[in-house]
Amino acid sequence: MVNPVVIIAVTLIAAFSIGIFQFLGKKFVRGVFWLTILFDFTAILSIAYGFLTKVIKAPIMVKIGGFPPPIGINLYVDQLSAYLGVVVFFIGAMAAYHWINRGIDDPEPKALVLMLLLLLGSTGMIFTQDFFNLFVFIEITSIASYGLVASKLDGFSLEAAFKYIVVGSISSTFVLLGAVLLYKFAGSLNMLDISNHINKSMYSGGMLIIISIMFLFGLLIELEVFPMNGWALDIYQGANPAVVAILAGGIVKGFYLVFVRSANYLKFPYLLKIGIIFGLATYLVSQFFAWKQKDIRRLFGYSSVGQLGLLILAGAFYINGNLTGFAKKYMLFAIIFFVLNHSFSKSTLFFLADLFGKRNIEEWKGAISQNKFFGFLFSSSVLSMAGAPPFLGFWAKLFFILAIPRQYFYIVVLVLIGAAAEILYYFNLYRIASENDGEVLDYKGSIIPSLFNVLVLLGLAVLGAYKFFTITGMEIQNAKFLAFITVSAIAVLIIGISRIAQWILALGMLISFSYHLIRNQNFVSVFNIQSFFVILVLVGAVIFLFATYPLSKKYSASFYPLFIFTVFSMVGISVASNWISLFIFWELMSWSSYLLINQGSKKPAWIYLVMSAIGGYSMLAGIKLLSTGSNLIPVFKASAIAAPVWAAILIFTAFLVKMGTAPLHIWARDAYGESPDGFTPLLSGVLSKMGVFGAILTIVYLIPHISHSNIILYGLAWFGALTALFMALLAVFQEDVKKILAYSSISQVGYILIGIALATSLGYSAALYHTVNHLIFKGLLFVAAAGIIYRTGTSYLPEMGGLIRRMPFTFLAFLMGIITLAGIPPLSGFAGKWLLYSALLEKRWMFILLIAMFASIVAFMYCYKLLHAIFLGQLRDKYRDTKEVPLPIVIIELILAGLTMAVGMKPSLILRFSDKAIKTLGFSNPGYAYEGAHRIVSKFGYWNAYFMAVFAIGSFIIALVLFFLVKAKIRKVGQLDIGYAGEVPDSPESVHFGYDLYAHMRRAVRVFIYPHVENSYRRIYQGLMAFVDYTRRFYTGDLNTYALWVIITLSFIFYILYKGVF
């Protein structure tokens, strides 16, 4: 262990020696600089390591000049300051390395001196325990940063520096005044001494309030609190990114620690309120102002400021929020994680922004899609910044939300809104950067610092997960499973050189995992709703993964890892034991599927992500409502106690988003339609079913315990019915095969929602049956569509036609899929319809029954359209040589087609599983009964699937035999040989009816298919954008106004204190 004062002294000496001996040359200067950094870093690391391994048990007190405190100045190094010191020096070193190696300019020796002074100042600031000394170190830090900010010597950086100087001087005036008045008041400058001297009752006197506010207000300015943070944003935008990285990544965190610690020492009683007001304001305002920002550096600046706001909020709660026990611990870890996450990812982002060089985000097109490694670093940082699991930002946010006391629920809501807003703009940038087109642009300079940072980030992700699971005491299986997922995905990623190897490995993983699961006695003997969905996920995943083989050539190396990630996170959702673990895996699923969709098309993926984020965060808010003071991790069953209506609604929103229920469906058409063809079957067949699973959980565990549960269920059924109807109607007018299937998917899931909302055993039977059945036939259709697109190169229906002649097997399978989709007996689709209608009849929900049945009639229209436009009509000349779809796809098609036939004949193949699952939901019977071997009876009617199948097939054979008995000689004629007004048409295109098949229908239903919902979303978005664009002019760029806002804010604080608003 090194005496902390040595760090300061050595740095100081080094700084001066560089200044004096710079004539010795660049090598000397650099050498001294790096040696100092290395020494400081090692020293501080050794202290931190001492704390970490508990070698150092108590905070280190260092007396300076031999005087013991409180007379002498002393340093006080505890765990947090040591850790923060490590971070500051690490980021500082990275920033310096970046500066030196970025290949644009060479830092002058002066800059290195300032850098050392900056690090020295911030270290001293963190370590000191004397208020005046604190002021001195703050000033050292500030002056060094003024110089560094100005060091680029262009208009931007000088302007930023001058603004900083003015506002910084005002800020330090307040700090100085506060410190000195404090001395006058308490007779000491030692923090601990003052803290002992002060008690809360002294605040009634008024003097102490003024003093504390002076002091803390000065720090708040440095903490870039709204509305006094215009200067900070200007620095982020204008200064050298290397400097900005160290400022945002390290120095500001020092100010933060000082602020929180001072407030703690001063026992400032209004910290919570100040923290809530300014923290929240800063957070929200910057997250929204960033929406319209085109300059990438200022964008990151807004994000940094927002994060600081969140930190202030968290700190206020930690110090002053009356948190108890676990909550306090959670909050502490939230703060630590926020700091670490922000420091490492934001500095990386600034480095990368600098390397790429472009300021305008529109010019970032292709930045990450064309530079793979750069893209990896950028993606990791952005994902971590936006709080995607399993990165640290996610755990930080989760800890934070869990720790906030329930009576501050509005804070949870606002913070989550801000988080969603953050995702919106970050991934707007990500969307642009991952665009495929655009000229090849390369980055300049060294990415080593970014690489180091990202490595740390990845390590921190592991740490975050580990800490989260150990501290919350959640079942260890969750953590193990998370680790398992990650390791599997990484394993698949590593062999990314060969897609086929990836395919084999991924398939092997899924199959062996399933095999082990089936071998597990526990799993087999306790068959419940969760097992049902686990099997659903795994079976679907294996089938669809198998079919991706021919398509995989054009996918990037991250396709299969993300596929595995998505699949296993869905398994994680299915086996989740409480709401939080459900949420964790839910987010994993959302993010990994987002990245997969993003490989297909960018804008739809972005909308999907934003909608998912809204859904996921509303689920988190709902979970928060379920938690009680002592039980922060609500489990499914215990939530029976008192579940507020809002909790159920909020949680349900997440599931409705994934199910694509109107009016939350806007993401679905394009996300389904333009995601990679290999992934769409999984998206439709399995991923949307996670919404179903969650909905069942909610309805079983939450809804019965809330008031008005009947109304809510009836409302849900209406949502389901309207979704089923209108999405079917919209599907009719699409001209893209995958988009038709997309709307069809949401429409079908609407049926499932009706079944769940019935909350009767027959309703669940219908829902679960249809869940599996939809997997079968929609999977079949999407897989077939993928094959067709693979062969024809288009998904645009009018381009196709007549393919039955080229793809007979696919046609057969597709036809069976369509018959199932339409619910025509004797294939498996009808059973689901029959069960659902019977359940609705039983409950006498006539209107919903009417809409549901009518929706299936509407569905016939697009069913026919699909078959006709793809396979029938005239074959185009360009497809004369098209081959049948690749073999693996044909295999999957035929397997699925066989399944629908088998299930159509014997629905009990599925129903026997759903019966078991339904029993575990607390029902004694599945709602229907068998009469004899095959006849299924409900209260209203009966139906014999086996008979129907035999009847249909038998009649068909009889009809065929009859035909051959009476048939005439059959003559096959050419394709164009049709009764065409006595002429032979000149080309297939001229007689193929393939575009806008339902023009007549469109005229009848124009008002229903007008995109009202999408337009409302667009209008809301555009309105918000316009509002944001207008309000962000708040930051005028004028120095006087910046200074004015400082004064106004101070007056505001005094005013609200005076009026006794607190």
Partner: protein, 303 residues
């Protein structure tokens, strides 16, 4: 052993249904002709046509689906006829209605139409492909009032079994759904007009516009199967409506009379109206019959 009796009865029903259906077709042509002041063909003209078609020597095929479509069509027609009880609780003539209830019948009705539509599309003739889209659109039109009345009746009688529906209407003419739930019945019967593609809802097969729609390319044996299927299907639907609204039948004579009345209803209406365009038909179905039907529907809902 009973199943073979069933099969035997079924054969008789199908052949009888075909004969009846063809006869109805002939009568319809005759009535139309007389209303227009023509003599018209013989009422047995359809038998003659069918025999003519079967006896043609060559048939033209355009592809596999084209080839299979007539089978689907025939199967669909036979299926519907056999799934509705002509005379309930009669071993012979309740047919195979034990196999399924009203919901099954409703969905099975689509089977034949789908087959025909696919065959038509496979012929490569644009008009043939156009007709099914019109048909499906119009179907979306008339199915709404039809489903309204079916659901209303099912809820009112607490059953979706056709036999039970018939049983519930026994005991005098006033127990018929036509009088018990007149508004639902009106909605259902208007929907029936659409289902038979009678004027004013005849745009699907509009001969002057799109040849004859789906069967444009069909000829000879293929057409004979289509024709057969259509006739049987027609009879099946009359029986269904009889069971739904007219109290079913307790003996064959009653069945003939009631279906014939329904037939006359369709024929007379269709002879006095011009033709709707598709969207006009759809809009019509979604307004008047729906609103009329809703009166009873809401009455049942509240009860």
């Amino acid at each position: 052993m009973w199943i073979w009796y069933k099969v035997l009865y079924a054969l008789i029903v199908v052949i009888g249904g075909l004969a009846y259906g063809l006869l109805l077709g002939g009568i319809s042509r005759k009535i139309t002709a007389r209303l227009q002041g023509r003599r018209g063909p013989s009422v047995f003209q359809n038998y003659i046509d069918l025999i003519k078609l079967i006896r043609k020597r060559t048939a033209i095929s355009h592809g596999v689906m084209f080839f299979l479509a007539p089978m689907f069509r025939l199967l669909g027609g036979i299926g519907v006829l056999l799934l509705v009880p002509i005379i309930a609780n009669n071993t012979a003539l309740s047919n195979f209605s034990f196999g399924g209830d009203l919901i099954v019948v409703l969905y099975f009705m689509v089977f034949g139409c789908l087959g025909m539509a696919l065959g038509a599309a496979d012929s490569g003739h644009p008009h043939s492909a156009l007709a099914p889209t019109r048909g499906l659109a119009q179907m979306a039109g008339y199915e709404l009032p039809f489903l309204l009345s079916v659901i209303g009746l099912a809820i009112a009688h607490n059953t979706v079994s056709l036999s039970n529906l018939v049983a519930a209407q026994q005991g005098g003419i006033l127990h018929w759904n036509l009088f018990q739930y007149p508004f639902l019945s009106i909605a259902g019967l208007i929907a029936m007009l659409g289902m038979y593609m009678a004027y004013p809802f005849s745009v699907v097969m509009a001969p002057q516009e799109i040849a004859v729609g789906p069967p444009t390319e069909y000829s000879s044996t293929f057409l004979s199967f289509m024709f057969t299927g259509r006739s049987i299907f027609g009879v099946g639907k009359y029986v269904l409506f009889m069971d739904l609204f007219l109290g079913g039948a307790t003996n064959l004579v009653e069945a003939f009379v009631k279906t014939f009345v329904l037939f006359l209803f369709v024929v007379f209406i269709s002879n006095v109206f011009p033709r709707y365009r598709t969207e006009q038909a759809v809009r019509f179905f979604w307004t008047y019959p729906l609103v009329i039907g809703l009166i009873d529907f809401i009455r049942i809902f509240i009860k």
